[in-house]
């Protein structure tokens, strides 16, 4: 904990599971220019690590996750640039999900990358028992008999903390409460032992106590399965509780990428600071909270000191400062630079400000060290 900058310097001890580089996704917009929902997004996911993607509604969090599974129909969507590389396991080579065909993608969905959704109330098919739905996920990817799949499903339900799974297996989704349904979704996602879990606002529809339980469950499963979790949320409380690495997004781009303690202790991008300023604090006497707009309107606060000199924090509503020549269209007006080791900030790209290495934080070692120390 004493030296957060150290983590970035450590030679990566792990191989990343999923590497997203310079991803850009746009949507058809009838009669208008294509809408760029995600632009120049790079993230690196390591086993046993939770990457939280934070941002307000419409910032591209979900599109990023859905694109990582190639679940957005095309058209209207299109991957304009970038790669999503799923690391090979054993003898298999690395595969770029952007170029794979539908058949190969189906083999990956659920098997290598699983996803849980925001709405546990409607994410389960109402006409099948939960057991049938979990076993379907198993039987799609493993050559298991009905009886074997059932045993795997029972084990999975037991693992996610559903009591008397043998009885619950034959019940229908409407017989489960919201939190229990989310547990079923997690059991379904984990039944095939995937390496990556994309959790798209898994706790938004749940009340706070259940939310804490589900987050604890995801955190413990992450450790026991060496899962790489992407946790999409707009709740900084959830981030603080469950994340290792945080990726803050705005308008489809990454504005800050760092370890969770660095994000909370020394936010570098004014937008991150604004997000944090919006959180009500118990005991605070302030009668009103700062708005994002107020914070961002302070142009003086946009200066970001980086190792290579100073830069201006990227913010789409501001005019590009002098010296920025790139086009917004191509994403060349923006760069994600390492302000200090292991801490990336989105800035305007100009002379002297060039993108360095892509965000790549393996924080597992450092986290374990802090946990033991703490």
């Amino acid at each position: 904990m004493s030296n957060p900058t150290q983590a970035g310097h450590e030679a990566p001890t792990l191989k990343p599971v999923l590497t997203v580089r310079d991803l850009a996704v746009s949507f058809d917009n009838r009669g208008g220019p294509r809408l760029r929902a995600v632009d120049s997004v790079s993230v690196t996911m390591y086993p046993g690590q939770t990457l939280a993607v934070v941002g307000e509604s419409g910032c591209g969090k979900s599109v990023t996750a859905l694109t990582m599974m190639r679940l957005i129909p095309s058209p209207p969507s299109r991957v304009d640039r970038g790669s999503i590389v799923l690391a090979g396991e054993d003898e298999r080579p690395d595969r770029d999900l952007v170029t794979l065909d539908e058949r190969a993608l189906r083999a990956i969905r659920g098997r290598e990358i699983a996803m849980i959704f925001q709405e546990p109330m409607t994410s389960l098919n109402p006409v099948f028992t939960v057991g049938e739905q979990i076993t379907e996920a198993i039987r799609l990817h493993q050559s298991a008999t009905r009886a074997q799949a059932r045993e795997i499903a029972i084990a999975a339900m037991d693992e996610v903390g559903i009591t008397s799974p043998r009885q619950r297996l034959d019940q229908y989704p409407h017989q489960f409460s919201g939190g229990m349904r989310q547990r079923v979704m997690i059991a379904m996602a984990l039944a095939c032992k995937p390496r990556v879990l994309l959790a798209d606002e898994p706790t938004t529809a749940l009340d706070v106590t259940i939310q804490a339980q589900i987050l604890d469950l995801i955190t413990s499963l992450r450790a026991s399965h060496r899962l790489s979790v992407m946790l999409i949320t707009h709740d900084m409380g959830v981030v603080a509780q469950a994340a290792d690495v945080v990726c803050v997004m705005y308008a489809g781009r990454v504005v800050e990428y760092a370890r969770v303690d660095a994000i909370f202790a020394t936010p570098r991008h004014p937008y991150t600071r604004a997000l944090l300023a919006c959180i009500p604090r118990p005991g605070s006497r302030a009668s009103r909270l700062a708005t994002i707009r107020e914070v961002m309107d302070d142009r003086g606060a946009m200066r970001v000191e980086t190792a290579g000199g100073s830069a201006t924090a990227w913010w789409p509503w501001h005019d590009a400062p002098a010296g920025v020549t790139g086009s917004q269209e191509l994403g060349t007006d923006y760069a994600l630079v390492e302000a200090n080791p292991g801490h990336w900030v989105g800035v305007w790209r100009s002379e002297g400000v060039t993108p360095g290495r892509s965000p790549d934080l393996d924080w597992t070692v450092a986290r374990n060290a802090t946990r033991i120390a703490g």
Partner: protein
């Protein structure tokens, strides 16, 4: 008071229930002190699951419909082997429904005493060979002396079978069409639905007649093979032939491509198949629209996306995830399509383009009965009973359909 609070305590937070009733908070639970209650209750989480309402016995009208329908269907369908069985008549084997003596023509129902018998009693006695005695004319006889009861039973069997089969066909086509259209969406959906719109716009009867005629001509060619024979000749002749050579070639052609031998029963079945296709082929439109609408809303639900997220293919999502969710509307519309199909069949038969005589159906029985109703002498039974049978069956089927709809379609449940 105690009994009521006991129940509330079991179902909600125990410590708060007494407050609700204005009682002093107490540490002991109401369970300890409450006298054995007359009203039994059980912890909600331990309650056995409630049986689902049977869609068929949900409404009184539905039950009545079921009973009436079961009686009619059972008597018509179970008697088919007997009514279709052959009897000896004039040295030939003919089906029982077609057996009758001209002498027995237009006999009124046996319980209808008032009607004048056109045929003297002695002539009836002299011709007992029909196998259908005049004493058994429970519902009278027709212009050819055939028992109306037997013809009604046969006709009912034919009408019900065709109605059910055509409804099944239209449900299958409509469901498949609607699901594909709704699931594919976009341009495919637009084109498929415009086709439905066009078919909707055409007069229904015209469409059925067109389909029936088209299928009929295909069938005629299948049996006579005239087209293939002409092609056979064309293959072997170049330019003009003299009449003699042409005749020789034609006789060769008949030997090479003979007309298909189709037994009368086979021919009847083929005709019924044509009728089936004509009715089924036009009555799926509503079904397709309903199913498309359902699929459009269902495919937006997150469980479809979560099915894709576990790696299910498109076909699997349609068949395994969406279809079971459509059982409700499919059942409801199927139940309402059956009477419609039966009516269509009878209507076509009434017009003379459906079931072809001598095979009876309720429609052509009514058609035969209509001219019998005249101011001079009305043989009313020949029109009344076919219409009555048809009307009662349709009413019963509609009752059943409404009953099914009420129990499966909550939005249209009775107010």
């Amino acid at each position: 008071m105690r009994a009521a609070s006991l129940k509330i305590q079991l179902l909600s937070v125990p410590a708060r229930a007494p407050y609700l009733h204005g009682m002093a908070p107490q540490r002991t639970t109401a369970l300890d002190s409450a006298p054995p209650s007359a009203e039994r209750s059980v912890l909600a989480i331990m309650a056995p699951s409630r049986a689902r309402a049977n869609p068929l016995t949900h409404s009184i009208a539905g039950v009545i419909g079921i009973v009436v329908l079961a009686l009619i269907a059972a008597s018509c369908l179970f008697s088919l082997p007997w009514t279709l069985g052959t009897v000896e008549s004039g040295g030939a084997q003919i089906p029982r429904y077609n057996a009758g003596e001209i002498a027995d023509a237009r006999t009124p129902p046996m319980w209808w005493g008032a009607g004048p018998r056109r045929v003297p009693a002695d002539s009836v006695a002299s011709s007992p060979s029909s196998g259908v005695s005049s004493e058994s004319f429970l519902l009278g006889s027709d212009a050819l002396g055939r028992s109306l009861l037997i013809r009604l039973l046969t006709g009912g069997g034919v009408s019900l079978t065709i109605g059910l089969a055509a409804a099944f066909l239209s449900v299958v086509i409509g469901t498949a069409y609607g699901m594909i259209s709704g699931f594919m969406g976009g341009r495919v959906d637009a084109v498929m639905m415009r086709i439905v719109d066009i078919l909707y716009g055409l007069p229904y009867v015209l469409l059925v007649v067109l389909l029936a005629v088209a299928a009929d001509s295909v069938l005629a060619e299948y049996i006579s093979r005239e087209g293939s024979r002409a092609a056979w000749i064309a293959d072997r002749s170049s330019g003009l032939l003299d009449p003699a050579a042409r005749a020789a070639l034609e006789s060769q052609a008949i030997a090479a491509v003979p007309p298909r031998q189709v037994s009368p029963t086979g021919r009847t079945l083929l005709d019924l198949g044509v009728l089936l296709i004509a009715i089924g082929g036009v009555s799926w439109l509503t079904m397709a629209r309903v199913i498309r609408g359902q699929v459009l809303s269902l495919k937006q639900l997150p469980f479809v996306e979560s099915a894709r997220a576990i790696g299910a293919s498109r076909r699997r999502i349609i068949l395994v995830h969406l279809l079971p969710n459509l059982v409700g509307p499919i059942t409801v519309y199927a139940a309402l399509t059956v009477p419609q199909a039966i009516l269509q069949e009878s209507f076509l038969s009434f017009l003379g383009i459906g079931v072809k005589p001598p095979l009876p159906s309720w429609g052509n029985l009514a058609a035969e009965g209509l001219p019998e109703l005249n101011p001079f002498q009305s043989h009313w039974w020949l029109l009344l009973f076919p219409c009555l049978a048809l009307g009662v069956t349709l009413l019963a089927l509609n009752f059943v359909g409404e009953g099914v709809r009420e129990s499966l379609d909550p939005k249209r449940a009775r107010a």
